[in-house]
């Protein structure tokens, strides 16, 4: 009787101990990604619109492709998508679930920046119990990576695969100004959508302790001998652009640069441009040309230059040995392309694979963080690696800006496209950012010439 009681007590003790051990956070966390369990990448995005659905779909495809080729160190890669419906509170809940329920090694979060920042605070609270990698996908607010340099131990697990605004906006736009100058444009009109992320575009950026002052876009154009005859912050989704276009034409502009984001109604702008006095002016849309832009405008975008919309990959095949050809993948899986797919979401998964391989697994998070810092792959838009110069907000962000001159592109970083819509929607590269890209300014034809 006594012996039976003793064995029952022992069984209960073992059971309780097992329960305790399995629920104890550090031990539970230690089990994430170890052994033969899949490596989990949680992806938090707003799935109520295509802008969130597409990167998610591409990440799932990337995991499938990795698993078909043997996985990571023999383990499968699992992508778990959580829908935050564009709401910060739901995103934070999803973040908690990703760590506790899904045991994610990497939690990737798709914009908006406000949502990313809310999750980042939560990540900071949970990191000691649930060590993981925080990856901001496509978000652009500089606050996301602004505190890593000053408090590395606390925020070392935070990475951002996108450039930061407003500091990186100039490197995107300046090549357009340079291109205009090369084709003889002397009078230019500058438009920007009136949103916070572009508020500094037309202003001189003051010096910080890390870099000197650099000129805003109008000053830069004028420093090249161009005259800015019109500049305006245009209401987001204004719907009515004819008056601006007529004013621009009346001001004698020879070229227009409109800087905006993918959600803006640039298709309406283009429809009204071809029906205005400005229709023969050189036209550049920096950003804003989301998928199917040619179709959405009924071909009226003929002759328009796009910069920063990432409409086509710059590199593929032998140039991206670690990332499958995105065009072939898109065709095979019936997926559309978008800027976030080409620059980040899709190549990110292959980047993570390489970093885990380099770290020898996912058990030692410090080793994985170090591997993330040292890993470099070449994606469809160029080399993808993180900036390691300890200058906020660039530190731990995708290498995009030249640290010696933050107004220029990184010599070994992501490039964004400079393409022109030509006959039947064919996209022609106007520059040659990498060897193997068939691009040249000589391929450019004016809108009037193309319409003939």
């Amino acid at each position: 009787m006594e012996r039976k009681l003793y064995s029952n007590v022992l069984a209960i003790l073992i059971f309780v101990t097992l329960i305790f051990l399995s629920s104890y956070p550090p031990l539970a966390a230690a089990s994430r990604g170890s052994g033969d369990e899949p490596v989990t990448i949680a992806f938090i995005a707003d799935l109520t619109n295509a802008a969130g659905q597409l990167p998610s779909a591409w990440m799932h495809v990337a995991a499938k492709q990795i698993n078909e080729s043997g996985g990571v160190l023999g383990r499968q890669v699992r992508v778990v998508t959580e829908d935050c419906k564009g709401q910060p509170n739901l995103a934070v809940e999803a973040y908690t679930r990703a760590l506790i329920d899904h045991k994610a090694t990497v939690v990737a979060i798709y914009p908006r920046s406000e949502i990313v920042l809310a999750c980042e605070s939560k990540a900071g609270e949970m990191y000691s119990d649930y060590p993981h990698i925080f990856l901001a996908v496509g978000a652009a607010a500089e606050q996301i990576t602004s505190r890593i340099a000053d408090n590395y131990e606390k925020w070392k697990f935070v990475f951002r695969d996108n450039y930061t605004v407003p500091a990186a906006t100039l490197p995107i736009i300046r090549p357009v100004v340079d291109f205009y100058r090369s084709i003889g444009v002397r009078k230019v009109a500058l438009l920007r959508e009136d949103l916070m992320w572009l508020a500094g575009l037309f202003k001189t950026m003051p010096a910080t302790k890390y870099h000197g002052e650099f000129a805003g876009l109008p000053d830069y154009a004028e420093s090249l001998g161009m005259e800015v005859v019109y500049q305006k912050a245009v209401k987001y989704k204004a719907g009515m652009y004819s008056p601006l276009l007529e004013a621009i034409a009346a001001a004698g502009a020879e070229g227009i640069i409109f800087v905006g984001s993918d959600g803006n109604d640039f298709d309406v702008f283009i429809k009204q441009w071809v029906n205005s006095s400005a229709r023969d002016l050189h036209m550049t849309l920096a950003g804003g040309c989301g998928g199917k832009f040619w179709e959405r405008t009924g071909g009226k975008t003929l002759g328009v230059i796009s910069r920063g919309s990432c409409l086509v990959p710059l590199l593929s095949g032998e140039h991206t040995p670690e990332v499958p050809d995105v065009m072939e993948t898109a065709k095979k899986y019936g997926l559309d392309l978008c800027a976030q797919v080409l620059t980040s979401a899709y190549p990110d998964v292959f980047f993570i694979k390489k970093a885990i391989t380099k770290a020898g697994g996912t058990d030692d998070m410090d080793a994985l963080i170090k591997a993330m810092e040292e890993t470099r792959i070449v994606g469809p838009m160029g080399p993808l690696h993180f900036e390691m110069t300890r200058i906020p907000p660039f530190f731990h962000g995708a290498a995009f800006v030249d640290m010696k001159d933050p107004s220029k592109e990184h010599p070994d970083g992501i490039r964004v496209d400079l393409v022109q819509f030509q006959k039947d929607g064919k996209l022609v590269h106007l520059n040659k950012p990498f060897p193997g890209v068939d691009g040249s300014p000589e391929y450019y034809k004016s809108p009037a010439e193309l319409r003939k």
Partner: protein, 292 residues
């Protein structure tokens, strides 16, 4: 300055004419059925995306797709009238308004789900591409054509209401339902036909302006706001008032665009205008007791 004034004049006329097409149906339904048709917003996306559906899913040519879309809209109008408006308009106005609003929201959500912006929807309903010059003003040919069509169509509507028996009956109905029934008018039939009639200006307007203006699943609310402003300003349900109000709003918008050079004030300026006029004339520009 003179150039800006020319633009204000020309664009004011064109915008006014297009707004007239957008608001005419709303004004009619207010005048005849005496309801504030909150479902009116669905006509706009359904015109564009309904046509696109027949082109992309069934492979029909543009003209046939437009006809098919009109048939769908007519059927939907009749169904809405029979099963929602007729049942609730006399007894439960709040339920009716809610029902109409929900209908518009459901259709918008369905469109947004099936055809998000990235789908690349574009209807090639361009009649003439390019620009014409009127003095110093440059205007899209498509908008000029839309304006001419608007004026012709409104004239035909006016003639219909003035000269035809059915128009007379609808006018009588808009003034007094009970007496109309006493003198033997078939109220049900007239209501049903009015529901179908109000479709035409919206359909024509959307097809004509789609190549130049905004096309997106949520566009209905933007256009309905304009329609409501015009109808309220003109005197709910009065066609004469609607015509005057359309051009007033058109000129206000073109002034903001070409004289002030700030399109973002278009809606604000129109709202202020409506408020000021309603303070002076609470009933709107014209009497709202009759259609004409």
């Amino acid at each position: 300055m003179s150039s800006a004034l020319t633009f204000v004049l020309v664009f004011g006329l064109m915008m006014g004419a297009v707004y007239l097409l957008i608001a005419l149906g709303f004004s009619l339904v207010c005048g005849v059925l005496r309801i504030f048709h909150l479902g009116y917003a669905y006509f706009f996306p359904l015109t564009i995306y309904g046509t696109w559906l027949f082109i992309s899913e069934f492979g029909l040519p543009l003209a046939q797709s437009i006809v098919a879309m009109v048939v769908v809209q007519l059927v939907l109008s009749v169904v809405l009238y029979k099963f929602m408006i007729r049942r609730t308009m006399e007894t439960d106005e709040l339920t009716l308004l809610t029902g109409l609003l929900l209908t518009a929201l459901i259709i918008e959500q369905l469109v947004a789900w099936r055809y998000p912006i990235q789908t690349g929807v574009y209807l090639n309903t361009t009649i003439m591409d390019g620009i014409w010059k009127f003095g110093r003003a440059v205007v899209p040919k498509q908008l000029v054509i839309a304006s001419i069509v608007a004026v012709v169509m409104t004239s035909l509507f006016a003639l219909f209401f003035i000269k035809t028996k059915m128009g007379l009956a609808v006018r009588a109905l808009s003034q007094d339902i009970l007496n109309s029934q006493i003198v033997g008018l078939n109220v049900e039939k007239l209501y049903s036909r009015t529901m179908m009639l109000i479709l035409l200006p919206v359909v024509v307007a959307m097809l004509l302006i789609a190549p130049v203006w905004t096309v997106e699943p949520a566009m209905g609310w933007q256009y309905m706001t304009t329609a409501i402003l015009i109808s309220v300003l003109g005197g709910l349900g009065n066609i004469k008032g609607t015509i005057i109000a359309s051009f007033l709003i058109g000129f206000t918008h073109s002034t903001m665009c070409f004289l002030v050079q700030e399109p973002r004030f278009m809606n604000l300026s129109a709202l202020v205008l409506v408020m000021v006029i309603l303070i002076v004339r609470p009933q709107g520009i014209a009497r709202s007791e009759s259609l004409w």
